[in-house]
């Protein structure tokens, strides 16, 4: 977006700029110079635009949101270009703050999934459930987790599911039998 704006401001006699984008949030971030991942781009945009807008008070820039579902004419063009072009990362790829932090999170999540495959972690009697497509359920902390998110707002259903997923170990049941 930064280079598009720069190129546009360099055109002769340009008074109005219209930018069609599918993410209005990133457009807002592009003109926000405060601290965030990708701040360098925003600062460049702010510098260019400040100089351009100060020249003439009739100059305006408009960001227009195009829902990507529409696959709308000129936005589709840009979308296809972006998708088709593959840029292999070199030996030292550029890493933004968001991407390194995402990598850390992913690493922790994967360690948890690996732990979960171990029976001594989840328990021998843990109820094995599968998704409709045949994958086993994996634990996650996003949005309350896999088990909690569908039943979490209904207490009795949730408790029944949890007790069923994680029954009492066998020896307790055996002891109860012996006593009775």
């Amino acid at each position: 977006m930064g280079s598009a704006i720069t190129l546009a401001t360099q055109q002769d006699n340009c008074e109005k700029i219209y930018i069609f984008t599918d993410s209005i949030a990133s457009a807002r971030r592009a003109v926000d110079p405060s601290l965030h991942s990708g701040q360098g781009h925003s600062l460049a945009v702010c510098q260019t635009l400040a100089a351009w807008l100060a020249e003439d008070s009739s100059c305006t820039i408009t960001f227009i949101q195009v829902p990507s579902k529409l696959e709308w004419s000129i936005h589709k063009e840009a979308h296809d270009y972006a998708k088709d072009l593959i840029s292999p990362a070199g030996p030292r790829p550029a890493m933004s703050l968001d991407s390194v932090q995402k990598a850390v999170t992913k690493c922790a999540q994967e360690s948890w999934t690996r732990m979960f495959e171990n029976l001594s972690y989840k328990g021998r009697n843990f109820l094995h459930l599968e998704r409709l497509d045949g994958d086993a359920l994996k634990p996650t902390y996003i949005n309350g987790g896999v088990w909690l998110s569908p039943v979490g707002s209904n207490l009795s259903v949730a408790v029944r599911l949890f007790r069923y997923s994680q029954p009492r170990p066998n020896w307790i049941i055996l002891r109860t039998f012996q006593h009775s």
Binding site: S37, L43, S87, A89, C107, A108, K122, S165
Partner: protein
């Protein structure tokens, strides 16, 4: 002749007019649920009124006028002080067993917040406060202060040095700030004359009425120190104390001590091979500090001064210190503590932090137990809300200060097992599972990531946060050469270490330094484009337009949007001097590819 004379007078800064964006920023950071002041206008009312563009303009004009005329209206100075008894006190006959809460009028508070945002920015950008001052300054937190301290101690150990600390407390800090001194300091720090005039009016003639139960007193004058309860008081107090820090570092160079200050809690640190030498250094440093504090009109509370030693050798030699001020004169010496509580961290002599973790995990555990009254497996809160409560109210308490004891290669099995027990209890409460269920199963069902992975995740993410810190942040001064930026390297900095020595030092700061090069992005936390009042959206709010349609899920809405787009596009294509672009980005699934942005640009007309 003033104590401030050795400090340079900074050039006067400009003060651009306030913008609507600054007002909305300040407003959105306010909690809607805090109590209103005497005029009964709550934040909810204010937020509703400020939906209207005209009222925003009115308030912005009012704020500008206040600053330029140098007057703070009387309406904003009147407050009500609610006296709340502190729970669990044995007797309520002393004033200390009550906590007064000052409620100011919300409109005034909003304007104060806008001013405070600006002062905060200028404070960091122009280095108005010393780097080692960590309270009331943006980006500088207690955790940074803790990291700074522990790293110095650990580096000292690797060099064979022992560390002694003296923690001091300023008596009645906020009420004893002197107005004339504050104004002189503001002038010295380059605030324009009308800002000075504004503060002169802001600080005086404040009235408060006391409210205790059903009793309400008449208005009483309360203009001591900086106005309590406002957003400006932490900023003003930080600015007030800044010259002490700067003068101390000028006058006590020979002592080679480090001074760290968090609002009114200060620490002086001396390092050497012998504890007796440390003691002499600290005594001298304390005398210098006392002289400086007296010069700007503040008093140290000697009876609250604490003394602590960091020593990992087996000897328990701990010489007491005689400060030379009552009550520590003659034979009454100040003995080092067993544990030292500073900024909420429990430090011990060998930096093991057993006591710290024990304290916080017990605290978290007792809140989990208390939460049991909110719901059980048959009634009360549903599991989703129980989980939310645990994640937001218990886990942050349990993991407070984890960066001090959790780092790569740390021995923290015991600490982790305490936290694990706590999380298990919470998991049982959330799921209502049988008490003999395995911890792993419960955690998975409740969607709680195991504690050690949670810490690993937070620590990994926090490492990279260091890259976003300002150029003179205290943590920067102890990192390696590439990360110093504007900070003065500390003698214990990683940049001053040899490769072999680096392997001897352990700790979080070393971990941060190892990981930082993975990030290739650079940041400018105080870029001049980001200064409040001079940002793009402050200057040209009407010339940058967003045509937002929200998230459209329904087919009808999508079709309507498509028709709109064709109309807009038709108009755009026909108008003169117009450029239109369309942009999109893609992030390939393949991890070995870069994310891409693409645009196509057309001229119309």
């Amino acid at each position: 002749m003033s104590v401030l004379d050795p400090l340079p007078t900074l050039q006067e800064r400009d003060w651009p007019p306030f913008s609507a964006l600054e007002l909305t920023d300040a407003l959105s950071s306010c909690s809607s649920r805090s109590s209103p002041g005497l005029d009964h206008i709550t934040w909810v009312h204010l937020k509703a009124v400020l939906e209207i563009e005209k009222s925003v303009q009115l308030l912005v004009t009012l704020a500008d006028a206040c600053i330029h005329v140098g007057h703070w209206p009387k309406h904003f100075k009147d407050s009500v002080s609610v006296i709340i008894p502190k729970p669990g006190k044995p007797t309520y006959s002393t004033p200390k067993s009550f906590r007064p809460i000052v409620l100011l009028n919300t409109v005034g508070k909003l304007i104060e917040k806008m001013i405070s945002n600006r002062l905060q920015f200028d404070m960091i950008k122009d280095d108005l406060v010393h780097p080692n001052q960590v309270g009331g300054v943006r980006q500088r937190s207690t955790k940074d202060a803790g990291l700074f301290l522990t790293n110095l101690v650990r580096t000292g150990w690797a060099k064979g040095k022992k560390t002694s600390m003296l923690a001091f407390d300023i008596a009645q800090f906020f009420p004893s700030l002197n107005h004339a001194m504050l104004l002189a300091i503001l002038r010295k720090q380059g605030f324009s004359s009308f800002v000075g005039r504004f503060f002169a009016s802001y600080l005086i003639d404040r009235f408060t009425s006391y409210l205790c139960g059903s009793f309400r007193s008449g208005p009483r004058q309360a203009d001591v120190g900086v106005g309590q309860g406002s957003a400006l008081s932490p900023v003003l107090s930080a600015l007030y104390i800044a010259p002490v820090m700067k003068l101390y570092h000028m006058q006590a160079v020979a002592l080679k001590t480090s001074l760290l200050l968090y609002v009114d809690d200060g620490t002086v640190m001396a390092q050497s091979k012998s504890l007796d030498k440390n003691r002499e250094t600290l005594k001298d440093a304390y005398a210098v500090l006392l002289r400086l504090f007296v010069a700007i009109g503040l008093v140290l509370e000697h009876s609250k001064t604490e003394y602590f030693i960091f020593d990992r050798s087996h000897s328990d030699y701990s010489p007491p210190i005689g400060l030379g001020y009552a009550p520590y004169t003659g034979k009454d010496l100040l003995k080092p503590n067993l544990y030292w509580r500073y900024l909420g961290f429990y430090f011990d002599r060998k930096l093991l932090f057993h006591e710290h973790v024990r304290y916080y995990s017990t605290k978290a555990l007792s809140s989990v137990k208390a939460m049991k009254m909110l719901g059980s497996s048959t009634q009360g809160l549903p599991p989703k809300e129980k989980r939310l409560l645990y994640r937001s109210c218990v886990l942050p308490i349990a993991t407070y200060g984890y960066r001090l004891w959790y780092y790569e290669g740390a021995r923290c099995k015991k600490a982790l097992s305490l936290l694990k027990t706590m999380q298990r209890k919470a998991g049982l409460w959330i799921t209502g599972a049988f008490s003999t269920s395995l911890t792993g199963g419960i955690e998975s069902l409740a969607g709680l990531i195991p504690v050690h992975l949670h810490l690993q995740k937070m620590a990994g993410r926090a490492n990279f946060r260091t890259a976003t810190l300002s150029d003179t942040h205290p943590l920067r001064s102890i990192l390696s050469q590439d990360h110093h930026k504007g900070a003065q390297p500390h003698p214990c900095a990683i940049s001053q270490m040899s490769e072999a020595f680096k392997r001897k030092v352990k700790g979080t700061v070393m971990e941060i330094d190892r990981h930082l090069p993975e990030l290739t992005e650079s940041f400018e936390p105080v870029a001049s484009e980001a200064r409040p009042g001079a940002r793009l959206m402050d200057r040209f709010p009407d010339q940058v337009i967003f045509d937002d349609c929200g998230s459209l899920l329904e087919q009808d809405a999508l079709e309507a949007r498509e028709r709109d787009l064709f109309t807009i596009f038709g108009n755009v294509r026909l108008s003169d001097n117009t450029v239109y672009c369309s942009v999109d980005a893609s992030l390939p699934d393949n991890t070995h590819c870069n994310g891409l942005c693409n645009y196509s640009c057309h001229s119309a007309g």
